[in-house]
């Protein structure tokens, strides 16, 4: 892997943003898992573990680049109140959309290997978002404002804006399966 000094600052920043989104998702799935039951709870546990694996991958990449991985926050402010299973499932969608968007940020860097990594890494969270949402979207990871002008069906394909993910309570702001289960 390339040394951090050979990466553009934007590329390293995008990697750190993806890691921050994974941290937020790991925290958020703790809440999701506590509010759902049965098959949804098993799914939340599986997804929670997958985000931990993704976090470990990103941390290893950043360390190998000679940089210090961004740390998880102690706690995060939720984007909305989570009081029941339905709002917990909505939170899972929000978490996955936030991670998808963060990986899409990697696709804009000039380093081709990181582009491909980001493009492939955004597919599992896009699939999990579709699974929790119960439907697919046209443009996973894209902020809604960037695509609505030419969509044939206004509102369809809406994705969450960058600020819609969890918010770190102690430091700065974090980036935010089969459908129809």
């Amino acid at each position: 892997m390339t040394h951090a000094g050979k990466l553009t600052p934007q590329a390293l920043q995008a990697l750190q943003a993806a890691l921050a989104a994974e941290h937020a998702a790991i925290y958020g799935y703790g809440i999701v898992g506590a509010m759902v039951s049965g098959a949804d709870q098993a799914l939340a546990l599986t997804d929670w573990k997958l985000h931990q694996e993704a976090r470990d991958t990103l941390e290893a990449m950043i360390v190998n680049l000679g940089a210090t991985p961004v740390a998880a926050s102690v706690a995060y402010r939720l984007p909305f109140a989570v009081r029941d299973a339905q709002s917990a499932r909505m939170l899972a969608v929000t978490l996955e959309d936030g991670v998808t968007q963060a990986y899409l940020g990697l696709v804009a860097v000039t380093e081709q290997a990181l582009r491909v990594f980001g493009a492939l890494a955004m597919q599992p969270p896009a699939n999990r978002a579709a699974s929790w949402r119960g439907s697919t979207v046209a443009f996973p990871g894209m902020p809604s404002g960037s695509i609505t002008k030419v969509l044939s069906r206004p509102g369809h394909g809406r994705s969450l804006s960058r600020g819609a993910g969890l918010t770190r309570l102690t430091r700065g702001r974090a980036a935010g399966r089969a459908p129809g289960r």
Binding site: T100, L104, V107, A108, V109, T110, Q112, R115, V116, G118, A119, L120, M122, Q123, A126, N127, A130, S131, S135, T136, V137, A138, F139, P140, G141, M142, I147, K149, V150, L151, S152, R153, H156, G157, R177, A178, P179, G180, R181
Partner: protein
């Protein structure tokens, strides 16, 4: 000023014994398409093929319409986005025709399997377009590739 210069070109051309295209070779033929435009043309053509396959499958198996119509709508949205990124260059038309028209299989399950394979192939092709693409275009290709990956999963659970 530009107009005056252009109108005087034939005069100078006559003096030099050559036509205007020798003086301004760029005017003789349209410039070659950039790599980004070529990739966009290919992406548009691929989406046209997918849209055609979905439409013909829905026409053949109406029972699949509830599952396939939302996915078709997303492909139409992809197509609109890709087309919106192209300013049609001189002498070239953005593809409007279907280049590949495989027959819809005789059984619904096989038809869904064909769609699934087409989605998977299309997603892989989008990733090949990332190399050297402008950042915003690369993100569009990656987002469409992710959308197509979710379609593969959705088709795994379709009623066929």
């Amino acid at each position: 000023m530009l107009a005056a210069s252009v109108t005087t070109l034939p005069f100078f051309a006559a003096l030099s014994g050559c036509d205007g295209r020798d003086l301004l070779p760029g005017l003789a033929s349209p410039p070659p398409l950039s790599a980004d435009v070529r990739a966009l043309f290919a992406a548009v053509a691929a989406e046209e093929d997918l849209v055609s396959l979905y439409k013909r499958t829905v026409a053949a198996y109406s029972a699949l319409a509830p599952a396939l119509t939302p996915l078709l709508a997303e492909h139409l949205a992809h197509l609109a986005q890709l087309r919106a990124r192209i300013i049609e260059p001189p002498g070239k038309r953005v593809p409007h025709t279907v280049t590949s028209r495989p027959p819809v299989p005789a059984a619904p399950a096989a038809a869904v399997a064909l769609l699934r394979a087409a989605e998977r192939a299309a997603s892989t092709d989008q990733l090949r377009r990332l190399n050297g693409a402008a950042p915003s275009l690369a993100q569009l290709y990656a987002s469409i590739a992710a959308s197509e990956a979710t379609h593969v999963a959705a088709l795994d659970h379709s009623p066929a």
